[in-house]
Amino acid sequence: MLLSALIVLPILGAVGVGFLPLNGGQVKTAALTLASVLFGLTLVLMVQFDPAIAGLQFVENLPWLSELGLDYRLGVDGLSLPLVVLNGLLTLVAIYITEPTVTRPKFYYSLIFLLNSGVVGAFLAHNLLLFFLFYELELIPLYLLISIWGGAKRGYAGTKFLIYTSISGILVLAGFLGLTWLSGSSSFDYNPALSQGLPIGPQLFLLAAIVVGFGIKIPLFPFHTWLPDAHVEASTPISVLLAGVLLKLGTYGLLRFGLGLFPEAWMVAAPWFASWAVVSVLFGALAAIAQTDMKKMVAYSSIGHMGFVLLAAAAATPVSMVGAMFQMVAHGLISGLLFVLVGLVYKKTGTRDITVLRGLLNPERGLPIVGSLMVLAVMASAGMPGMVGFISEFLIFRGSFAAYPLQTLLCLVGTGLTAVYFLLLVNNTFFGRLPSQFSDLPMVTWAERSPGLVLAVLIVVFGLSPGWMSRWTEVTTIALVRDFPIVKHQIFLQEAPKDTPALPS
């Protein structure tokens, strides 16, 4: 019942927050309480979860519309558990950092809980149609959250987001329907054996639909242009959720429904995916260098970092798969932290333009702690050892090198470029002399700093002790690629990995 509770409680909460006669402050308190309870429940789930089992746990199976093949079938395994917990944490953070003066608070918090429920449902669903329902359900609140509480061009950004992700949903649905009908099954329950009877042609076709569908959500080049717009226009808490959790739906779908449902076709298409990952990584990193809006920069960096997951999935070795899961959680924590900090800077200074901001590290009148946390966040994002970003990237590269040496090395160049743009960001905005226009910035309270501190501590703790994270996911992710042939690296010793050109100094 725990899993259903995770889905139903937020819906009840959304109704409660929306309709109970509470005033502004009480609404936020109520929302915070509920979000804490939900996060607590995910922790309970984590404690009760047995990491040694590869398959589903806490399975709930209720016949619903069996004629349609739609059953209410939930379960959690090592692939979904970390993301469910991450979702709980970041929802709590998002609600915590929401301004107390937010307009129409009841509607706002209701939508956040609906979003939470949709995301958890998608992670837990083990029926293809059920997953699709949750996948679509999460769109509506997010669309409204962007287009009601967003910035100046929120209408454009919101509509763009909606159109893109609807197409994503249609493609995914088409893939699911095609798979089930072509394989002659009457049930939409998640079943990796479905594709086995199909010839490779239709398999590849269906896989393409699903991968493009999730590729829009992740997002991968060239389906990414909704993301920078959405991030720039969305308010800070929504950006945290969008980058931290919503993008993970795409990568989760890629692993679960792409690689999981079509292992045979996946192996055929994997070299293409690896090259696609390289394009995405380099494109995201290069585009980020040219940005002057901090939020846009972080948004493009997300495109680059999510590309690593595709590389890892293409390689499909045990190490790379664990790396992919690491990268998802790491990116959730790091991009969450980045957006929290960018939001604080924006709140205090009124701008996110790195050509305007300067000298914010100033110990007396600037934002020194925010600046220090920002240095930590960008270093984590650039893959500095000791933090969780490094170990995920290292595992991905270690796992992918044997299969795709050239692509892996090019993705490593992407990591190097990450350092370039984030260093520009820190150097421009936090170093230098504080100009007079920012000389009396409002004080940052410890209450405002605390979410950033919590995320920063998690980033360092998991970076220093990655075993605490891998134990939840290792068994499942390795089982996912158990039937994939391990690439013998001896073959590739004959192939020369090219030495890549030096980066700017």
Binding site: L286, G386, G432, G467, S505
Partner: protein
């Protein structure tokens, strides 16, 4: 007791980290009402603890077989990472050197940064710095070593950027980070490749693997070059050399460590990686070439600097170039001996330079003069450090270079020539700075120059003693050649090169103004050297330009092509909808006709095959 100390020897680097963590309350402003000095004292105390612990361990490992500690860290699937620690006389000795110099630099910092407002932040960073270096030298796992190298990159960035409000510092910190990062990323490529090829990342595993590995020459060369890149950045070797020179904008106590042991750490890693590098003759040649280029080039550049710190930092690059050559030629003993003698002597010179800067508030040699009479301790430190660095008197570096020359004597006479040249040029450079700064008349900036406070004088005194005593220590440890083995021709040549250098340095005409020669060729040479062979300009028009234009293009492409296509589709659908609405007449007969025709066509299309087939 000793066994316990050995088993907990991994704690020695951790002490520095604890010190860094302890400074956090002051650095973050949680504790404001108490002075920040307490944070500094805490860090110094932790370093002292590390030094004592290290010394006790050193007595245990001295002339004993290496003691190994294996600390399992992370295991996933078929891949496991362990943090192996290797304790032998070299690694623990190097750690002692680092901890000792760090202790002296921190005490020195009490004086140098007396009025600094962010003292706690500085000491925290120093603790972090020390921890990374200490861990690096005892690490026996390439993975851990890589991580610690990156920690060094990070802490260098933060230490160079310590006074982040100044524009030059901002650029220096950026360049230090990015230049090292280029090397680190290439090194990471090598580490990733090795983790696949060698099936493990401990130096022992890798060493065994190199015995049997069969790599094709291109792969071996690429691997070797990638592994060289990391130390090239760390040791400020061409083409990744410029950061060290710029990094002189940072606080001096950190410069002391940076020019002595941090660059040494890079070379230490290179020595550890030597078995892999020598698998490819191309990589080996590149290593020697880079070392030679840097050794000669940086020595020349050092001659034309007017910033006293920059002049010294270029000479650091030059000495590390010699180490590169030594590693490339597989003369590890020479490399280690040179690193040791250079570290101590260079640290001493940088302490002396720091005293000058603190007292006169200037680091421009043309503005200084006549300090010898006013600052005796500083002068003594400079002279002793210089003597320790140049092969003239039988100090440590003399023996090191002599050792190198004897080894290269037959195989590589050109390397002997490089050593002699570097020695001579360094002598000229040191004498030039000495004459400008310490001799002559006092200038307006040096008129009132009291000697530095004891916090700075005492570390200098200790290092003067250490530099002077080093040859005897080496003698005691049987690291000096016995009388019969000395190559007297080499010794004579080395002495001559030093003496010639000193003579030239004493005789050239020096002015206390930044003179530009009238003759075009001389002027060209002076500019070429003063601006570091224009390497930074070269970067600007090549790599930086390439990345910048590529990113601008990508951004343009993203905005106008990718996003433009999307907006075009959106616009087209809206436009077509808007235009089509005018074609609706509102007459139901027309609608009926359209539907009828449409259905008719579809029906015809669907039944086409059935209609035709019977006829065939």
């Amino acid at each position: 007791m000793y066994q316990f100390l050995l088993e907990t020897s991994w704690l020695i680097p951790v002490y520095g980290l604890v010190g860094a963590l302890l400074s956090l309350p002051w650095a973050t402003g949680l504790i404001r009402d108490r002075g920040q000095r307490l944070a500094a004292y805490l860090n110094i105390f932790m370093t002292l603890v590390a030094l004592v612990h290290g010394t006790l361990v050193f007595t245990q490992v001295w002339q004993q077989p290496a003691y190994q500690l294996i600390l399992p860290w992370f295991h996933v699937a078929d891949f496991s990472l362990t943090f192996n620690v290797n304790l032998d006389s070299v690694s623990v000795g190097a750690m002692e050197l680092i901890t000792g110099l760090s202790l002296l630099a921190q005490i020195y910092g009490l004086g140098y940064l007396e009025k600094e407002i962010s003292l706690a932040r500085f000491y925290g960073l120093m603790g972090f710095f020390e921890a990374a270096m200490g861990g690096l030298v005892i690490s026996d796992s390439l993975f851990l070593t890589y991580g610690l190298l990156e920690m060094l990159t990070l802490s260098t960035y933060l230490l160079v950027g310590f006074w982040y409000a100044q524009p030059l510092v901002v650029n220096a910190a950026r360049d230090a980070f990015l230049t090292k990062r280029v090397g680190d990323i290439l090194l990471l490529m090598g580490v990733v490749a090795l983790s696949v090829y060698a099936d493990g990342l401990n130096f022992e595993t890798i060493g065994q693997w190199t015995q049997t590995a069969e790599l094709t020459p291109p792969v071996a060369a690429a691997l070797g070059l990638a592994l060289i890149a990391g130390p090239t950045g760390k040791c400020a070797q061409f083409p990744l050399n410029l950061w060290l020179d710029e990094a002189m904008e940072g606080p001096n106590p950190a410069s002391i460590l940076r020019n002595s042991v941090v660059v040494g750490c890079g070379a230490y890693v290179l020595i550890k990686l030597q078995p892999i590098i020598v698998m490819s003759s191309i990589a080996q040649d590149v290593l020697i070439l880079l070392g030679t280029l840097t050794a000669i080039g940086a020595s020349l550049v050092s001659l034309a600097q007017i910033d006293i710190k920059r002049a010294m930092s270029h000479s650091t690059s030059a000495y590390l170039g010699l180490v590169f050559i030594a590693v490339g030629m597989q003369w590890t003993d020479f490399a280690l001996l040179l690193l040791l003698s250079h570290a101590i002597a260079k640290a001493l010179i940088f302490m002396s330079v720091g005293s000058i800067i603190l007292t006169t508030l200037s680091q421009d040699v043309t503005e200084l003069g006549g300090l010898a009479r006013k600052m005796p301790m500083t002068t003594l430190a400079y002279i002793t450090g210089s003597a320790g660095l140049v092969g003239v008197l039988p100090m440590a570096a003399y023996w090191a270079m002599l050792d190198g020359m004897s080894k290269f004597w037959i195989d590589a006479p050109w390397a002997v020539a490089v050593i002699l040249l570097v020695n001579g040029l360094t002598a000229i450079s040191l004498v030039r700075v000495f004459r400008l700064v310490f001799l002559g008349d006092a200038t307006p900036k040096t008129k009132r120059s009291p000697e530095v406070p004891w916090q700075m004088a005492v570390p200098m005194g200790v290092l003067v003693g250490a530099t002077a005593a080093l040859p005897f220590v080496l003698l005691k440890l049987d690291l000096l050649p016995v009388t019969g083995e000395i190559n007297f021709t080499a010794a004579a040549l080395l002495t001559t090169s030093g003496v010639v250098g000193i003579t030239i340095g004493s005789l050239i005409q020096l002015n206390h103004v930044w003179l530009r020669p009238i003759q075009a060729p001389l002027r060209f040479v002076q500019d070429l050297l003063a601006y570091d062979f224009y390497v930074d300009k070269f970067y600007m028009v090549t790599v930086v330009w390439a990345v910048r234009s590529l990113s601008t293009f990508t951004s343009w492409f993203d905005r106008y092509v990718v996003d433009g296509a999307v907006n075009l589709v959106g616009f087209a659908s809206l436009f077509s909808g808007e235009s089509l609405k005018y074609s609706a007449s509102g007459k139901s007969q027309a609608y009926m006709l359209t539907i009828l025709l449409g259905v008719g066509f579809i029906g015809l299309f669907l039944s086409w095959s059935k209609l035709i087939l019977p006829g065939i």
